[in-house]
Amino acid sequence: MTEAVLGVLMTEYLAMREVLLRFLAARLGDAAAADDIYQELFVRLKSGVLPADLTNPRGYLFRMAYNLANEFARARRRRDARDAHWTETTTHKVGTDTIADATAADEALASKERLTVVMKALDSLPAKSREVFVMCRVQGLSHRDIAEVMGISTKTVEKHMTAALKHLTLFLRSTEGERH
């Protein structure tokens, strides 16, 4: 069963090379990174747990590529933020070496402050948007289940979800400065 699924996915993987690379390059704005992730996809397919039954192999591969690209983009973002932060405020140069002044305690404090900001962002969400966000992203419910629990349409669930995401993004962006 799983053997057959792997075969289908491998065939699809090779056939979709162009379209996946294009998608990844658009998602990351970086052709080299797109290549890397296309390779990584192969590794994950070979070593990962595959679904027993697959109705949409194309969508499955897109989804895997999407998740890997998001992980990559998040790591890149964190790295950039940290680099900017460190070179600005917590390092000094000795000859050609960059020496970090930050202590572990400083870092712990910074991440604690950040948590407070994220908590504020969540607290400032309208109740329904927050509820939808928690159910969908933390508890992994489908929009259909959420619609049923809340007694609203899936369209409205999607609206609440979009509003929650927009709000969180704006809130966290506007407090980005508090990291430093």
Partner: protein, 325 residues
């Protein structure tokens, strides 16, 4: 709060990015359209990155601080349970109760009590199509009315597969906890003053008697509480473990032998006891097939330094005699 750094055009872009994120995360298959949107303007990608990073930060925080995911109870109008109304109190509750109770005058409730004896397992299909699997030594009282479906777990353990019916919430009461369900499969255990709720799929809300807030559980969540207290813990577990009894197996993960003895006792007429404190504190992880009492309990002898002794009243787990010199 003011967001001076973001222009109107940028806000629009973020809105679209957020909408894409919302759609894609719930399984939408629109990858070509998404690619085209990203390609249309490099700033779209940056906006999407920002949305994804914000969502991730929020999810990370909520995942490690589970108490933050506890939500206020939904407004009374959405709840049909008399239990919920009583919690709100006052005149409004009384009025609503009359309205809710009225249909029952015209359509009598169906009452049913189903029970198993020690060692017995049984599956029951309810009139709404839901299935209740009863484990050993279990008793449930079922009341089906027009507005709600209520099951009281008097004792023991049951696994529920609830048929979807948004108009009629499904409640399971166990001791002083109420579990509200939409359409889902989950396991409830009431034993030794403890209540454990494990969700296999879907979601349920657990409320303590008199509490104003509920605890929402999703797939893989296990809620554990002691009756008579408000405190509870929620942990992530493999839900198939909690349902293993349906295949006649008991699964233990790093359980003490006193917990193992207490849990296994549910299956038999004779209690399994541990008197020696050192033996009681031994840890056991493993899967035991539930067969006749001595066969099952003696499996532990092979795995731990203990011996099984018995008389007509009880089965004892004792320390293995030291090897003679």
């Amino acid at each position: 709060m003011s967001i001076p750094a973001t222009t109107a055009g940028e806000t629009e872009r973020l809105q679209t990015a957020a909408a894409w994120h919302a759609r894609l995360e719930t399984g939408a298959d629109a990858w070509e359209a998404f690619t085209l949107w990203l390609e249309a303007d490099p700033r779209n990608r940056t906006a999407f990155d920002a949305v994804d990073a914000a969502a991730r930060e929020a999810v990370d925080l909520l995942s490690v601080n589970r108490e933050l995911t506890v939500l206020a109870p939904p407004p009374a109008a959405r709840r049909f349970s008399t239990r919920a109304f009583l919690g709100i109190g006052g005149i409004a509750a009384a009025v609503l109760l009359t309205i809710v109770a009225r249909p029952d005058i015209f359509q009598p409730d169906e009452h049913e009590i189903v029970a198993t004896v020690a060692g017995e397992r049984r599956d029951v299909t309810l009139s709404d199509g839901s299935t209740v699997h009863l484990n050993t030594n279990t008793q449930v009282a079922v009341t089906m009315s027009r507005g709600t479906r209520n099951v009281r777990l008097e004792k023991g353990e049951a696994l529920f597969e609830v048929a979807r019916d948004p108009a009629r919430p499904f409640h399971v009461a166990a001791g002083d906890r109420d579990v509200r369900v939409v359409g889902t499969a989950f396991n409830v255990l009431r034993h030794d003053g403890r209540i454990t709720v494990t969700v296999e799929r879907g979601i349920v809300d657990v409320t303590s008697d008199g509490a104003r807030t509920n605890v929402r559980l999703g797939a893989g969540d296990q809620y554990a509480a002691r009756e008579g207290t408000r405190a509870y813990q929620v942990a992530k577990i493999d839900p198939t473990i909690a349902a293993a009894w349906r295949d006649g197996r008991a699964v233990f993960i790093d359980a003490t032998l006193s917990e193992v003895a207490s849990d296994l006792s549910r299956y038999y007429g004779r209690p399994i006891v541990v008197r020696d404190a050192d033996v009681a504190a031994m840890r056991f992880s493993g899967i035991l097939k539930i067969e006749d009492q001595l066969t099952t309990v003696k499996r532990l002898e092979a795995l731990l330094p203990i011996v099984v002794a018995e008389n007509g009243d009880e089965v004892r787990l004792e320390r293995e005699a030291p090897p003679s010199k």
